[in-house]
């Protein structure tokens, strides 16, 4: 056995705290190690070439690389030794950066630890055997979850490549939050004008199947072959028959909150969210419908000229196979009411959220673009914007930046002036974060051209007085308290993950953070991948972001999906369980514990029943390995012998 050890310095990332020379020297005295060297950047081209050279010149049969986390570069180095002519699995990575040099400052402690870890790696690789992956065919169909701008973009890009896409949207229309915006920063493009053509395109695309009022029920399977149950919720409207004439909505006597308009204005129990909705199909909300509450009404059914209303409709679950999934579930506004009693906690009608204000500004909104304050319908002259409500505020447990508030406040201040020329806007801000292209210039324009007065400080209190609202804040630049009598206060509320994001993440088996934003696989190098192969992220479901970033990420996710499915088949990990059938006693405890039904019974010629692992189903968790009474089920790459050897080596 001929083992080579390569110790990465990673510039000073490792060498700054770990004496890499000493580690390499110590490695040379370990059993079967006949080559050890330090490399400045092992992952670089010269670094990889050095490994290949050493393997070929010294006839190495196993390699230990002490460098960064295997989660970072294991695949890189497997490829490297593959190029050197070795089996890709005859390599062990030892993490002396994230788990060593970066968390210690004492060189002796870090070096000792690094040597221990290399020793562990050597012990482990000595017991490694060559492994060979197999391939499985993939389903060349893609699921996109969420029909906002990110989901639409991903769906269109993927569909354009020729792959069929199913776009699942929870609400009655695609378009997401962007459809609710009046204008977009920093160009003041009309949001609808740029979005609705894309919505229509998604609807008409021959490779896209749109499923609205639908949610993901359950997900099984793996990269290349996900089996997904989708629940199509009953809306009491037959989608194929509805022509979108809106007569039902007009005649419906049941009032309902207007969700599309963020609660500004009212809607009906049966309605189409907005005139540009896609698909243009009505949906009925049973909780507001007289037919369901009182048991009698039936107006919509009577007036529908297409006979599309069906009160008996029930939820339907369809099951489909997909090769890859793009999650684009977006965001919703942070519900500020509980956390901010100082701003009235929702009691003052003239304290509105930015999205409500957006609807008030929008020509397609409930006030047809005339800004009217909710309490009395008067046109506000003094408008105060409060930034960072539920963002950058540790006292309410929301330290994160919403990343778009500064920009949309500037936009809304500009639009306010355009709508009401004799109005005055005030903006309370902490910092102006305007990092995108043309963004800084835009916030300057709001101040210089549109006269918005920017005050640097937080707002402490809002209270009603003489039909107005008094906004008490500080101006930290002039160093004193400020009070403004406002007709309307707009809170720049931060982003929350979409309701149920965490639950969906659990169904998909992907990670999420404490705010239920979904986690990317690596913040720099794998920003659209998740930790689960075949599932990708797009848009604000990952973190608050603006439209250009969401669209860019959606296209990136689409590129990843197209790349994945272009091959038609994918390699499976060879690190799966295997049964020593000669010693198997046929108790099938392994089959009982397997989460994937990847173990079946096999009858040997002598009639004995033994366990057999179905390689393509096994995901390599190793639960069966532990359950096996005679220890004959073994997880390749993580065998009992390897783990015991590692443990014993560390305790020598």
């Amino acid at each position: 056995m001929r083992i080579g050890v390569f110790v990465c310095q990673c510039g000073t990332n490792i060498a700054g705290t770990v004496a890499t020379d000493k580690v390499a020297e110590a490695a040379l005295s370990m059993r079967d190690v006949l080559h050890a060297e330090t490399l400045q950047y092992t992952c670089s081209d010269p670094g990889q070439r050095a490994i290949i050279d050493a393997v070929q010149k010294k006839g190495l049969t196993r390699v230990v690389i002490a460098a960064c986390s295997p989660r970072m570069h294991e695949t890189t180095f497997r490829r490297t030794i593959g190029q050197a002519g070795m089996n890709a699995y005859m390599m062990e990575m030892v993490n002396i950066r994230e788990h060593c040099s970066w968390i210690h400052s004492d060189i002796d402690i870090a070096t000792d630890k690094a040597i221990d870890l290399v020793q562990k790696g050597v012990a482990r690789v000595r017991r490694q055997v060559p492994l060979y992956s197999t391939t499985v065919p993939v389903t060349r169909r893609v699921l996109v979850i969420g029909g906002g701008v990110a989901g639409i973009q991903a769906a269109l890009d993927i569909a354009d490549s020729g792959l069929p896409v199913t776009l699942v949207e929870r609400g009655p229309t695609i378009g997401g939050n962007m459809a609710r915006l009046d204008k977009t920063f920093p160009t003041l493009d009309c949001s609808s004008c740029i979005l609705t053509p894309r919505m229509v395109e998604a609807k008409q695309h021959e490779n896209i199947r749109l499923m609205v009022n639908a949610e993901i029920e359950q997900v099984r399977g793996y990269i290349g072959n996900f089996e997904v149950d989708v629940r199509k919720k009953a809306t009491c409207v037959i989608e194929d028959k509805c022509t979108g004439c809106m007569i039902c909505q007009e005649k419906c006597p049941g009032k309902a909150p207007d969700e599309f308009n963020a609660g500004v204005g009212q809607s009906k129990a049966i309605s189409i969210p907005f005139p540009q909705a896609v698909p243009m199909v009505a949906a009925l909300r049973k909780e507001y419908c007289r037919q369901f509450i009182n048991g009698k009404c039936g107006v919509c059914k009577k007036v529908c000229p297409a006979d599309a209303v069906d009160y008996e409709q029930v939820d339907e679950i369809t099951t489909e196979m997909f090769g890859a999934v793009v999650v684009a579930t977006g965001y919703e506004l942070y519900d500020w009411r509980e956390a901010y009693p100082d701003y009235g906690g929702g009691q003052y009608p003239d304290v509105v959220t930015s999205l409500q204000y957006e609807r008030m500004l929008s020509a397609s909104g409930p006030t047809a673009g005339h800004v009217q304050r909710p309490s009395d319908g008067a046109e506000p002259k003094q408008v105060v914007f409060v930034s960072c409500v539920g963002s950058r505020d540790e006292s309410v447990g929301r330290p994160l930046c919403c990343s778009v508030g500064c920009m949309y406040i500037a936009k809304q201040a500009i639009l306010t002036k355009e709508h009401i020329p004799d109005s005055q806007s005030y903006v309370f801000y902490i910092d102006i974060r305007a990092t995108g292209k043309g963004y800084e210039e835009f916030t300057r324009r709001a101040q210089k051209e549109f006269g918005a007065i920017y005050l640097r400080g937080r707002v402490g209190k809002i209270y009603p007085s003489n039909g107005q609202l008094v906004v008490m804040g500080t101006d930290t630049l002039s160093g004193g308290p400020v009070e403004i009598e406002a007709d309307l206060v707009v809170l720049a509320t931060g982003f929350s993950a979409a309701r149920g994001a965490g639950e969906l993440a659990r169904k998909l088996n992907i990670s999420y953070d404490q705010y239920e934003f979904l986690s990317e696989s690596h913040p720099k190098l794998r920003p659209v991948e998740t930790t689960t192969g075949g599932i990708f992220l797009a848009g604000a479901c990952q973190a608050p972001k603006d439209i250009p970033d969401s669209v860019a990420q959606a296209s990136a996710a689409a590129a990843k999906v197209i790349g994945l499915l272009s091959r038609g088949e994918i390699e499976t990990s060879p690190m799966v369980a295997a049964v020593d059938q000669l010693r198997c006693i046929g108790c099938f405890k392994c089959r009982d514990v397997c989460p994937y039904n990847a173990i079946e019974a096999l009858e040997l010629r002598d009639g004995r029943q033994v366990a057999k692992v179905i390689d393509t189903l096994c995901q390599g968790c190793g639960v069966c390995n532990v359950a096996c009474p005679p220890s004959v089920v073994s997880l390749k790459g993580y065998t009992d012998n390897q783990l015991i050897a590692e443990t014993m080596e560390l305790l020598r």
Partner: protein, 163 residues
């Protein structure tokens, strides 16, 4: 006092990634713990933990995905059941159950991981080394070999040395 020997068995998907994150964020931690990576805590054989104690580990930490978040759906539930039982059995082997700790750290909980390591190390520091370990006599005589066997010194296939 001789240096403490602490072993951590971490699942690849949550806790190992969480430990990576703690490293990326340069969260300083005590230096005694050595991490062994596994696909899942469901792969942790309780006998392996006994083996570690038998070989002189002063503390063993197992960390996986939070309940409900397991990459393999239910591996951590198996681990929870197995390790809970193990922890109750430890006194029978003369091992204080406090030396064994089973917890959950997700991939985004770097700070929590640093905290877990620090707390655990401090706790074992306060308890001191396993009695008898310094004299080289393993504290527990329980035979682990019955279940998992001694590690082979030589693996099945001898490598073909390229010419």
């Amino acid at each position: 006092m001789a240096e403490l020997k602490l072993i951590g068995f971490l699942c690849n998907w949550c806790s190992y990634a969480g430990a990576d994150m703690a490293g990326t964020a340069r969260m300083k931690q005590p230096g005694e713990l050595r991490i062994i990576r596994l696909p899942c805590t469901g792969r942790v054989n309780p006998l392996l933990i006994l083996k570690a104690f038998q070989q002189g580990a002063d503390g063993v930490l197992v960390s996986g995905c939070h309940p409900g978040d397991c990459h393999y759906n239910e591996g951590n539930y198996y681990a929870r059941r197995r390790l809970e039982l193990l922890s109750r059995m430890l006194p029978a082997f003369g091992i204080e159950p406090e030396r064994f700790h089973f917890t959950w750290v997700s991939a985004s909980e770097g700070a929590r991981w640093a905290d877990v390591v620090t707390q655990f190390t401090r706790k074992i520091e306060a308890m001191g080394k396993m009695s008898g370990a310094e004299q080289g006599t393993p504290p527990a005589k329980a035979s682990c070999e019955a279940g998992v066997g001694a590690p082979d010194e030589q693996t099945g296939s001898e490598d073909a040395v390229p010419a």
